[in-house]
């Protein structure tokens, strides 16, 4: 493998001059520059980042820790997608900034994290992004003296900068649109109560009611999530048996909505004529393909990744830290024909 010395010799200049051509950080004569460039391409020279890092201490590397890659334990399971979109947004920003992203996967085992951080530190990453699989609290230990960290899709209690999806405002926007469309009895089959998102979204559901001067009937809100979808049947029964059943049912995610279509049709209930349905996530493979297409709301994960990346760049460049912590990213309602006006 050719070195800068080989290039220098071939071009008849000093190594330092080659370095100047490579980095364009000092004036170089026209003919000299061309001779150097010629030698570089003739020799197929590629500079060694390792040597550069040693002297200059800027690695150009950013570390990212995620379970995105292995958190999709089986083919076709969409669980890992949010993380994936976040990674995508992060990648997008760093590609622009000519930083290289090193991605490490926890393999679903958080006890591996310290080892991954240590590897990143060996590579002298300039910063670290930790991406969680779903909106949650976390504890991400970084020793003092380590690189700056930004949390994406999670937060901690010690003030580490973090960027989160705004579950509350998303649910609020969606329910506001339903109310606007004339709905007054809005059922809500939620995700598991153990999830932060569930509480936040119920807040959003309440916010929208409060904004419209409506009271909330707690009987309309039922936890109905499980991997195997079983709780949905009984939850749906309870909603339909209410003295005043809902005219629209919101679901904790689009898969639940897909399931709900089936359950309602089994009971001979037409969607959306008799009962409207709304989802959450805008999981397009489902939301667009279902008939009728599903009204839902999108968590802007890619944007979340972009913001996390910019945040980290700001910290690396020692921008004054904003007071806006955590950053919450709102997302758009996607209106399709699974909801009718009343």
């Amino acid at each position: 493998m050719a070195t800068i010395y080989d290039v220098a010799k071939a071009a008849g200049v000093s190594p330092k001059t080659v370095s100047r051509v490579l980095n364009d950080d000092a004036p170089v004569g026209r003919t000299t520059r061309e001779a150097v460039q010629d030698a570089i391409s003739r020799l197929g020279y590629v500079p060694s980042n390792a040597a550069r890092v040693m002297r200059s201490n800027r690695s150009g590397l950013i570390g990212l820790i995620t379970g995105a890659i292995s958190n999709t334990p089986e083919a076709g399971d969409p669980k890992g997608l949010p993380e994936l979109y976040i990674v995508q947004g992060v990648q997008e920003i760093f590609a622009e900034e000519a930083k290289t992203l090193m991605i490490s996967d926890t393999g679903g085992r958080s006890d591996r994290v310290p080892a991954l951080v240590s590897t990143f530190r060996q590579h002298r990453v300039e910063g670290l992004i930790y991406v969680a699989d779903y909106h949650r609290q976390t504890r991400f230990e970084v020793r003092p003296g380590g690189p700056p960290v930004v949390l994406a899709n999670c937060y901690d209690t010690i003030g580490t900068p973090s960027v989160l999806p705004d579950d509350r405002s998303c649910q609020r926007s969606l329910v506001a649109r339903l109310i606007e469309a004339g709905h007054r009895r809005i059922g809500y089959l939620t995700l598991g109560n153990y999830m932060d998102a569930t509480g936040l979204r119920i807040e959003g559901y309440r916010d929208a009611h409060a904004d419209a001067g409506l009271s909330v009937d707690p009987d309309l809100i039922l936890e109905a999530y499980r991997e195997d979808h079983t709780p949905m049947t009984s939850a749906l029964n309870r909603l339909l048996e209410l003295p005043e059943p809902p005219s629209v049912i919101c679901c904790g995610n689009d898969e639940m909505a897909m399931r709900l279509y089936g359950l309602l049709r089994t009971r001979g209930v037409e969607v959306p004529e008799e009962i409207s349905v709304a989802g959450f996530d805008n999981y397009r493979a489902i939301a667009e393909t279902l008939f009728p297409p599903l009204t839902t709301v999108e968590l802007p994960y890619r944007e979340l990744g972009r913001r996390a990346a910019r945040r980290l760049l700001g910290i690396i460049a020692k921008d004054p830290p904003g007071t806006d912590d955590p950053v919450r990213i709102p997302g758009p309602v996607v209106w399709r024909s699974s909801v009718t006006a009343r």
Copy 2:
């Protein structure tokens, strides 16, 4: 940031001895070792990979190029998933081997590839894996003198080692199972003819018929794929209007099958009682959640990634090159209730 000299001084030994403790590559006295380890943790010392690479020339890095991250242009679009599973398999193997994976994304623009390769070469990656978004031919230029390359989910015409999904045997297994279940008229709504996979799968469909001594009715095979799903309606009409309509319909992917459920029900055709349906991909969010759950076949993308990674490790270690090129990975039929016996 502490260096190996700081540690040496703190432990009262030479830097070389610290190095020996770190790499465990030569005997070190018990008390000396403990003194060094103590100094390391006291100082929070993390060795510099850059310095290590300079001297030893082993970077411990593997480069991976993919569009997985950005090939999912919109939320919930499953297009990028195969690549993702491949990356996952690759990651799994290299994590075991203590190699660090650098992932670069093409952002969908293949003209960026040379720049990405150049960045990887600057980091002195020991090898490179190129992952394609779907089974296809590709041309991946690496200059001579560059790191070894393995292609995953794609192949070229110049003999670069590659690992591919065995579309043909997958379709063959599926159709064989259908025949075993008593089906004799097997419709097939294929993906686009421009895709390599389509031709291979039709081969597999024929293979299964030939194995069973059945002839193939070409009228049963129709190209029916488009992003907007529109061609499916007319294709289905043509199948149903045949003098002897099919008793089961295979689809090019699980989304098409999901769509087909809807179209059949609109016509009052019961699935699976009147017509059975089979998919392709085992896209679980769909295949498991649909009612009835979908019989399909799984392309083993994660395994494909693992194999590609092991292949590359073999090449790096200069194992004798196997003659088995390209490697084709078969996958299992996943039998669910969307197909009945006849």
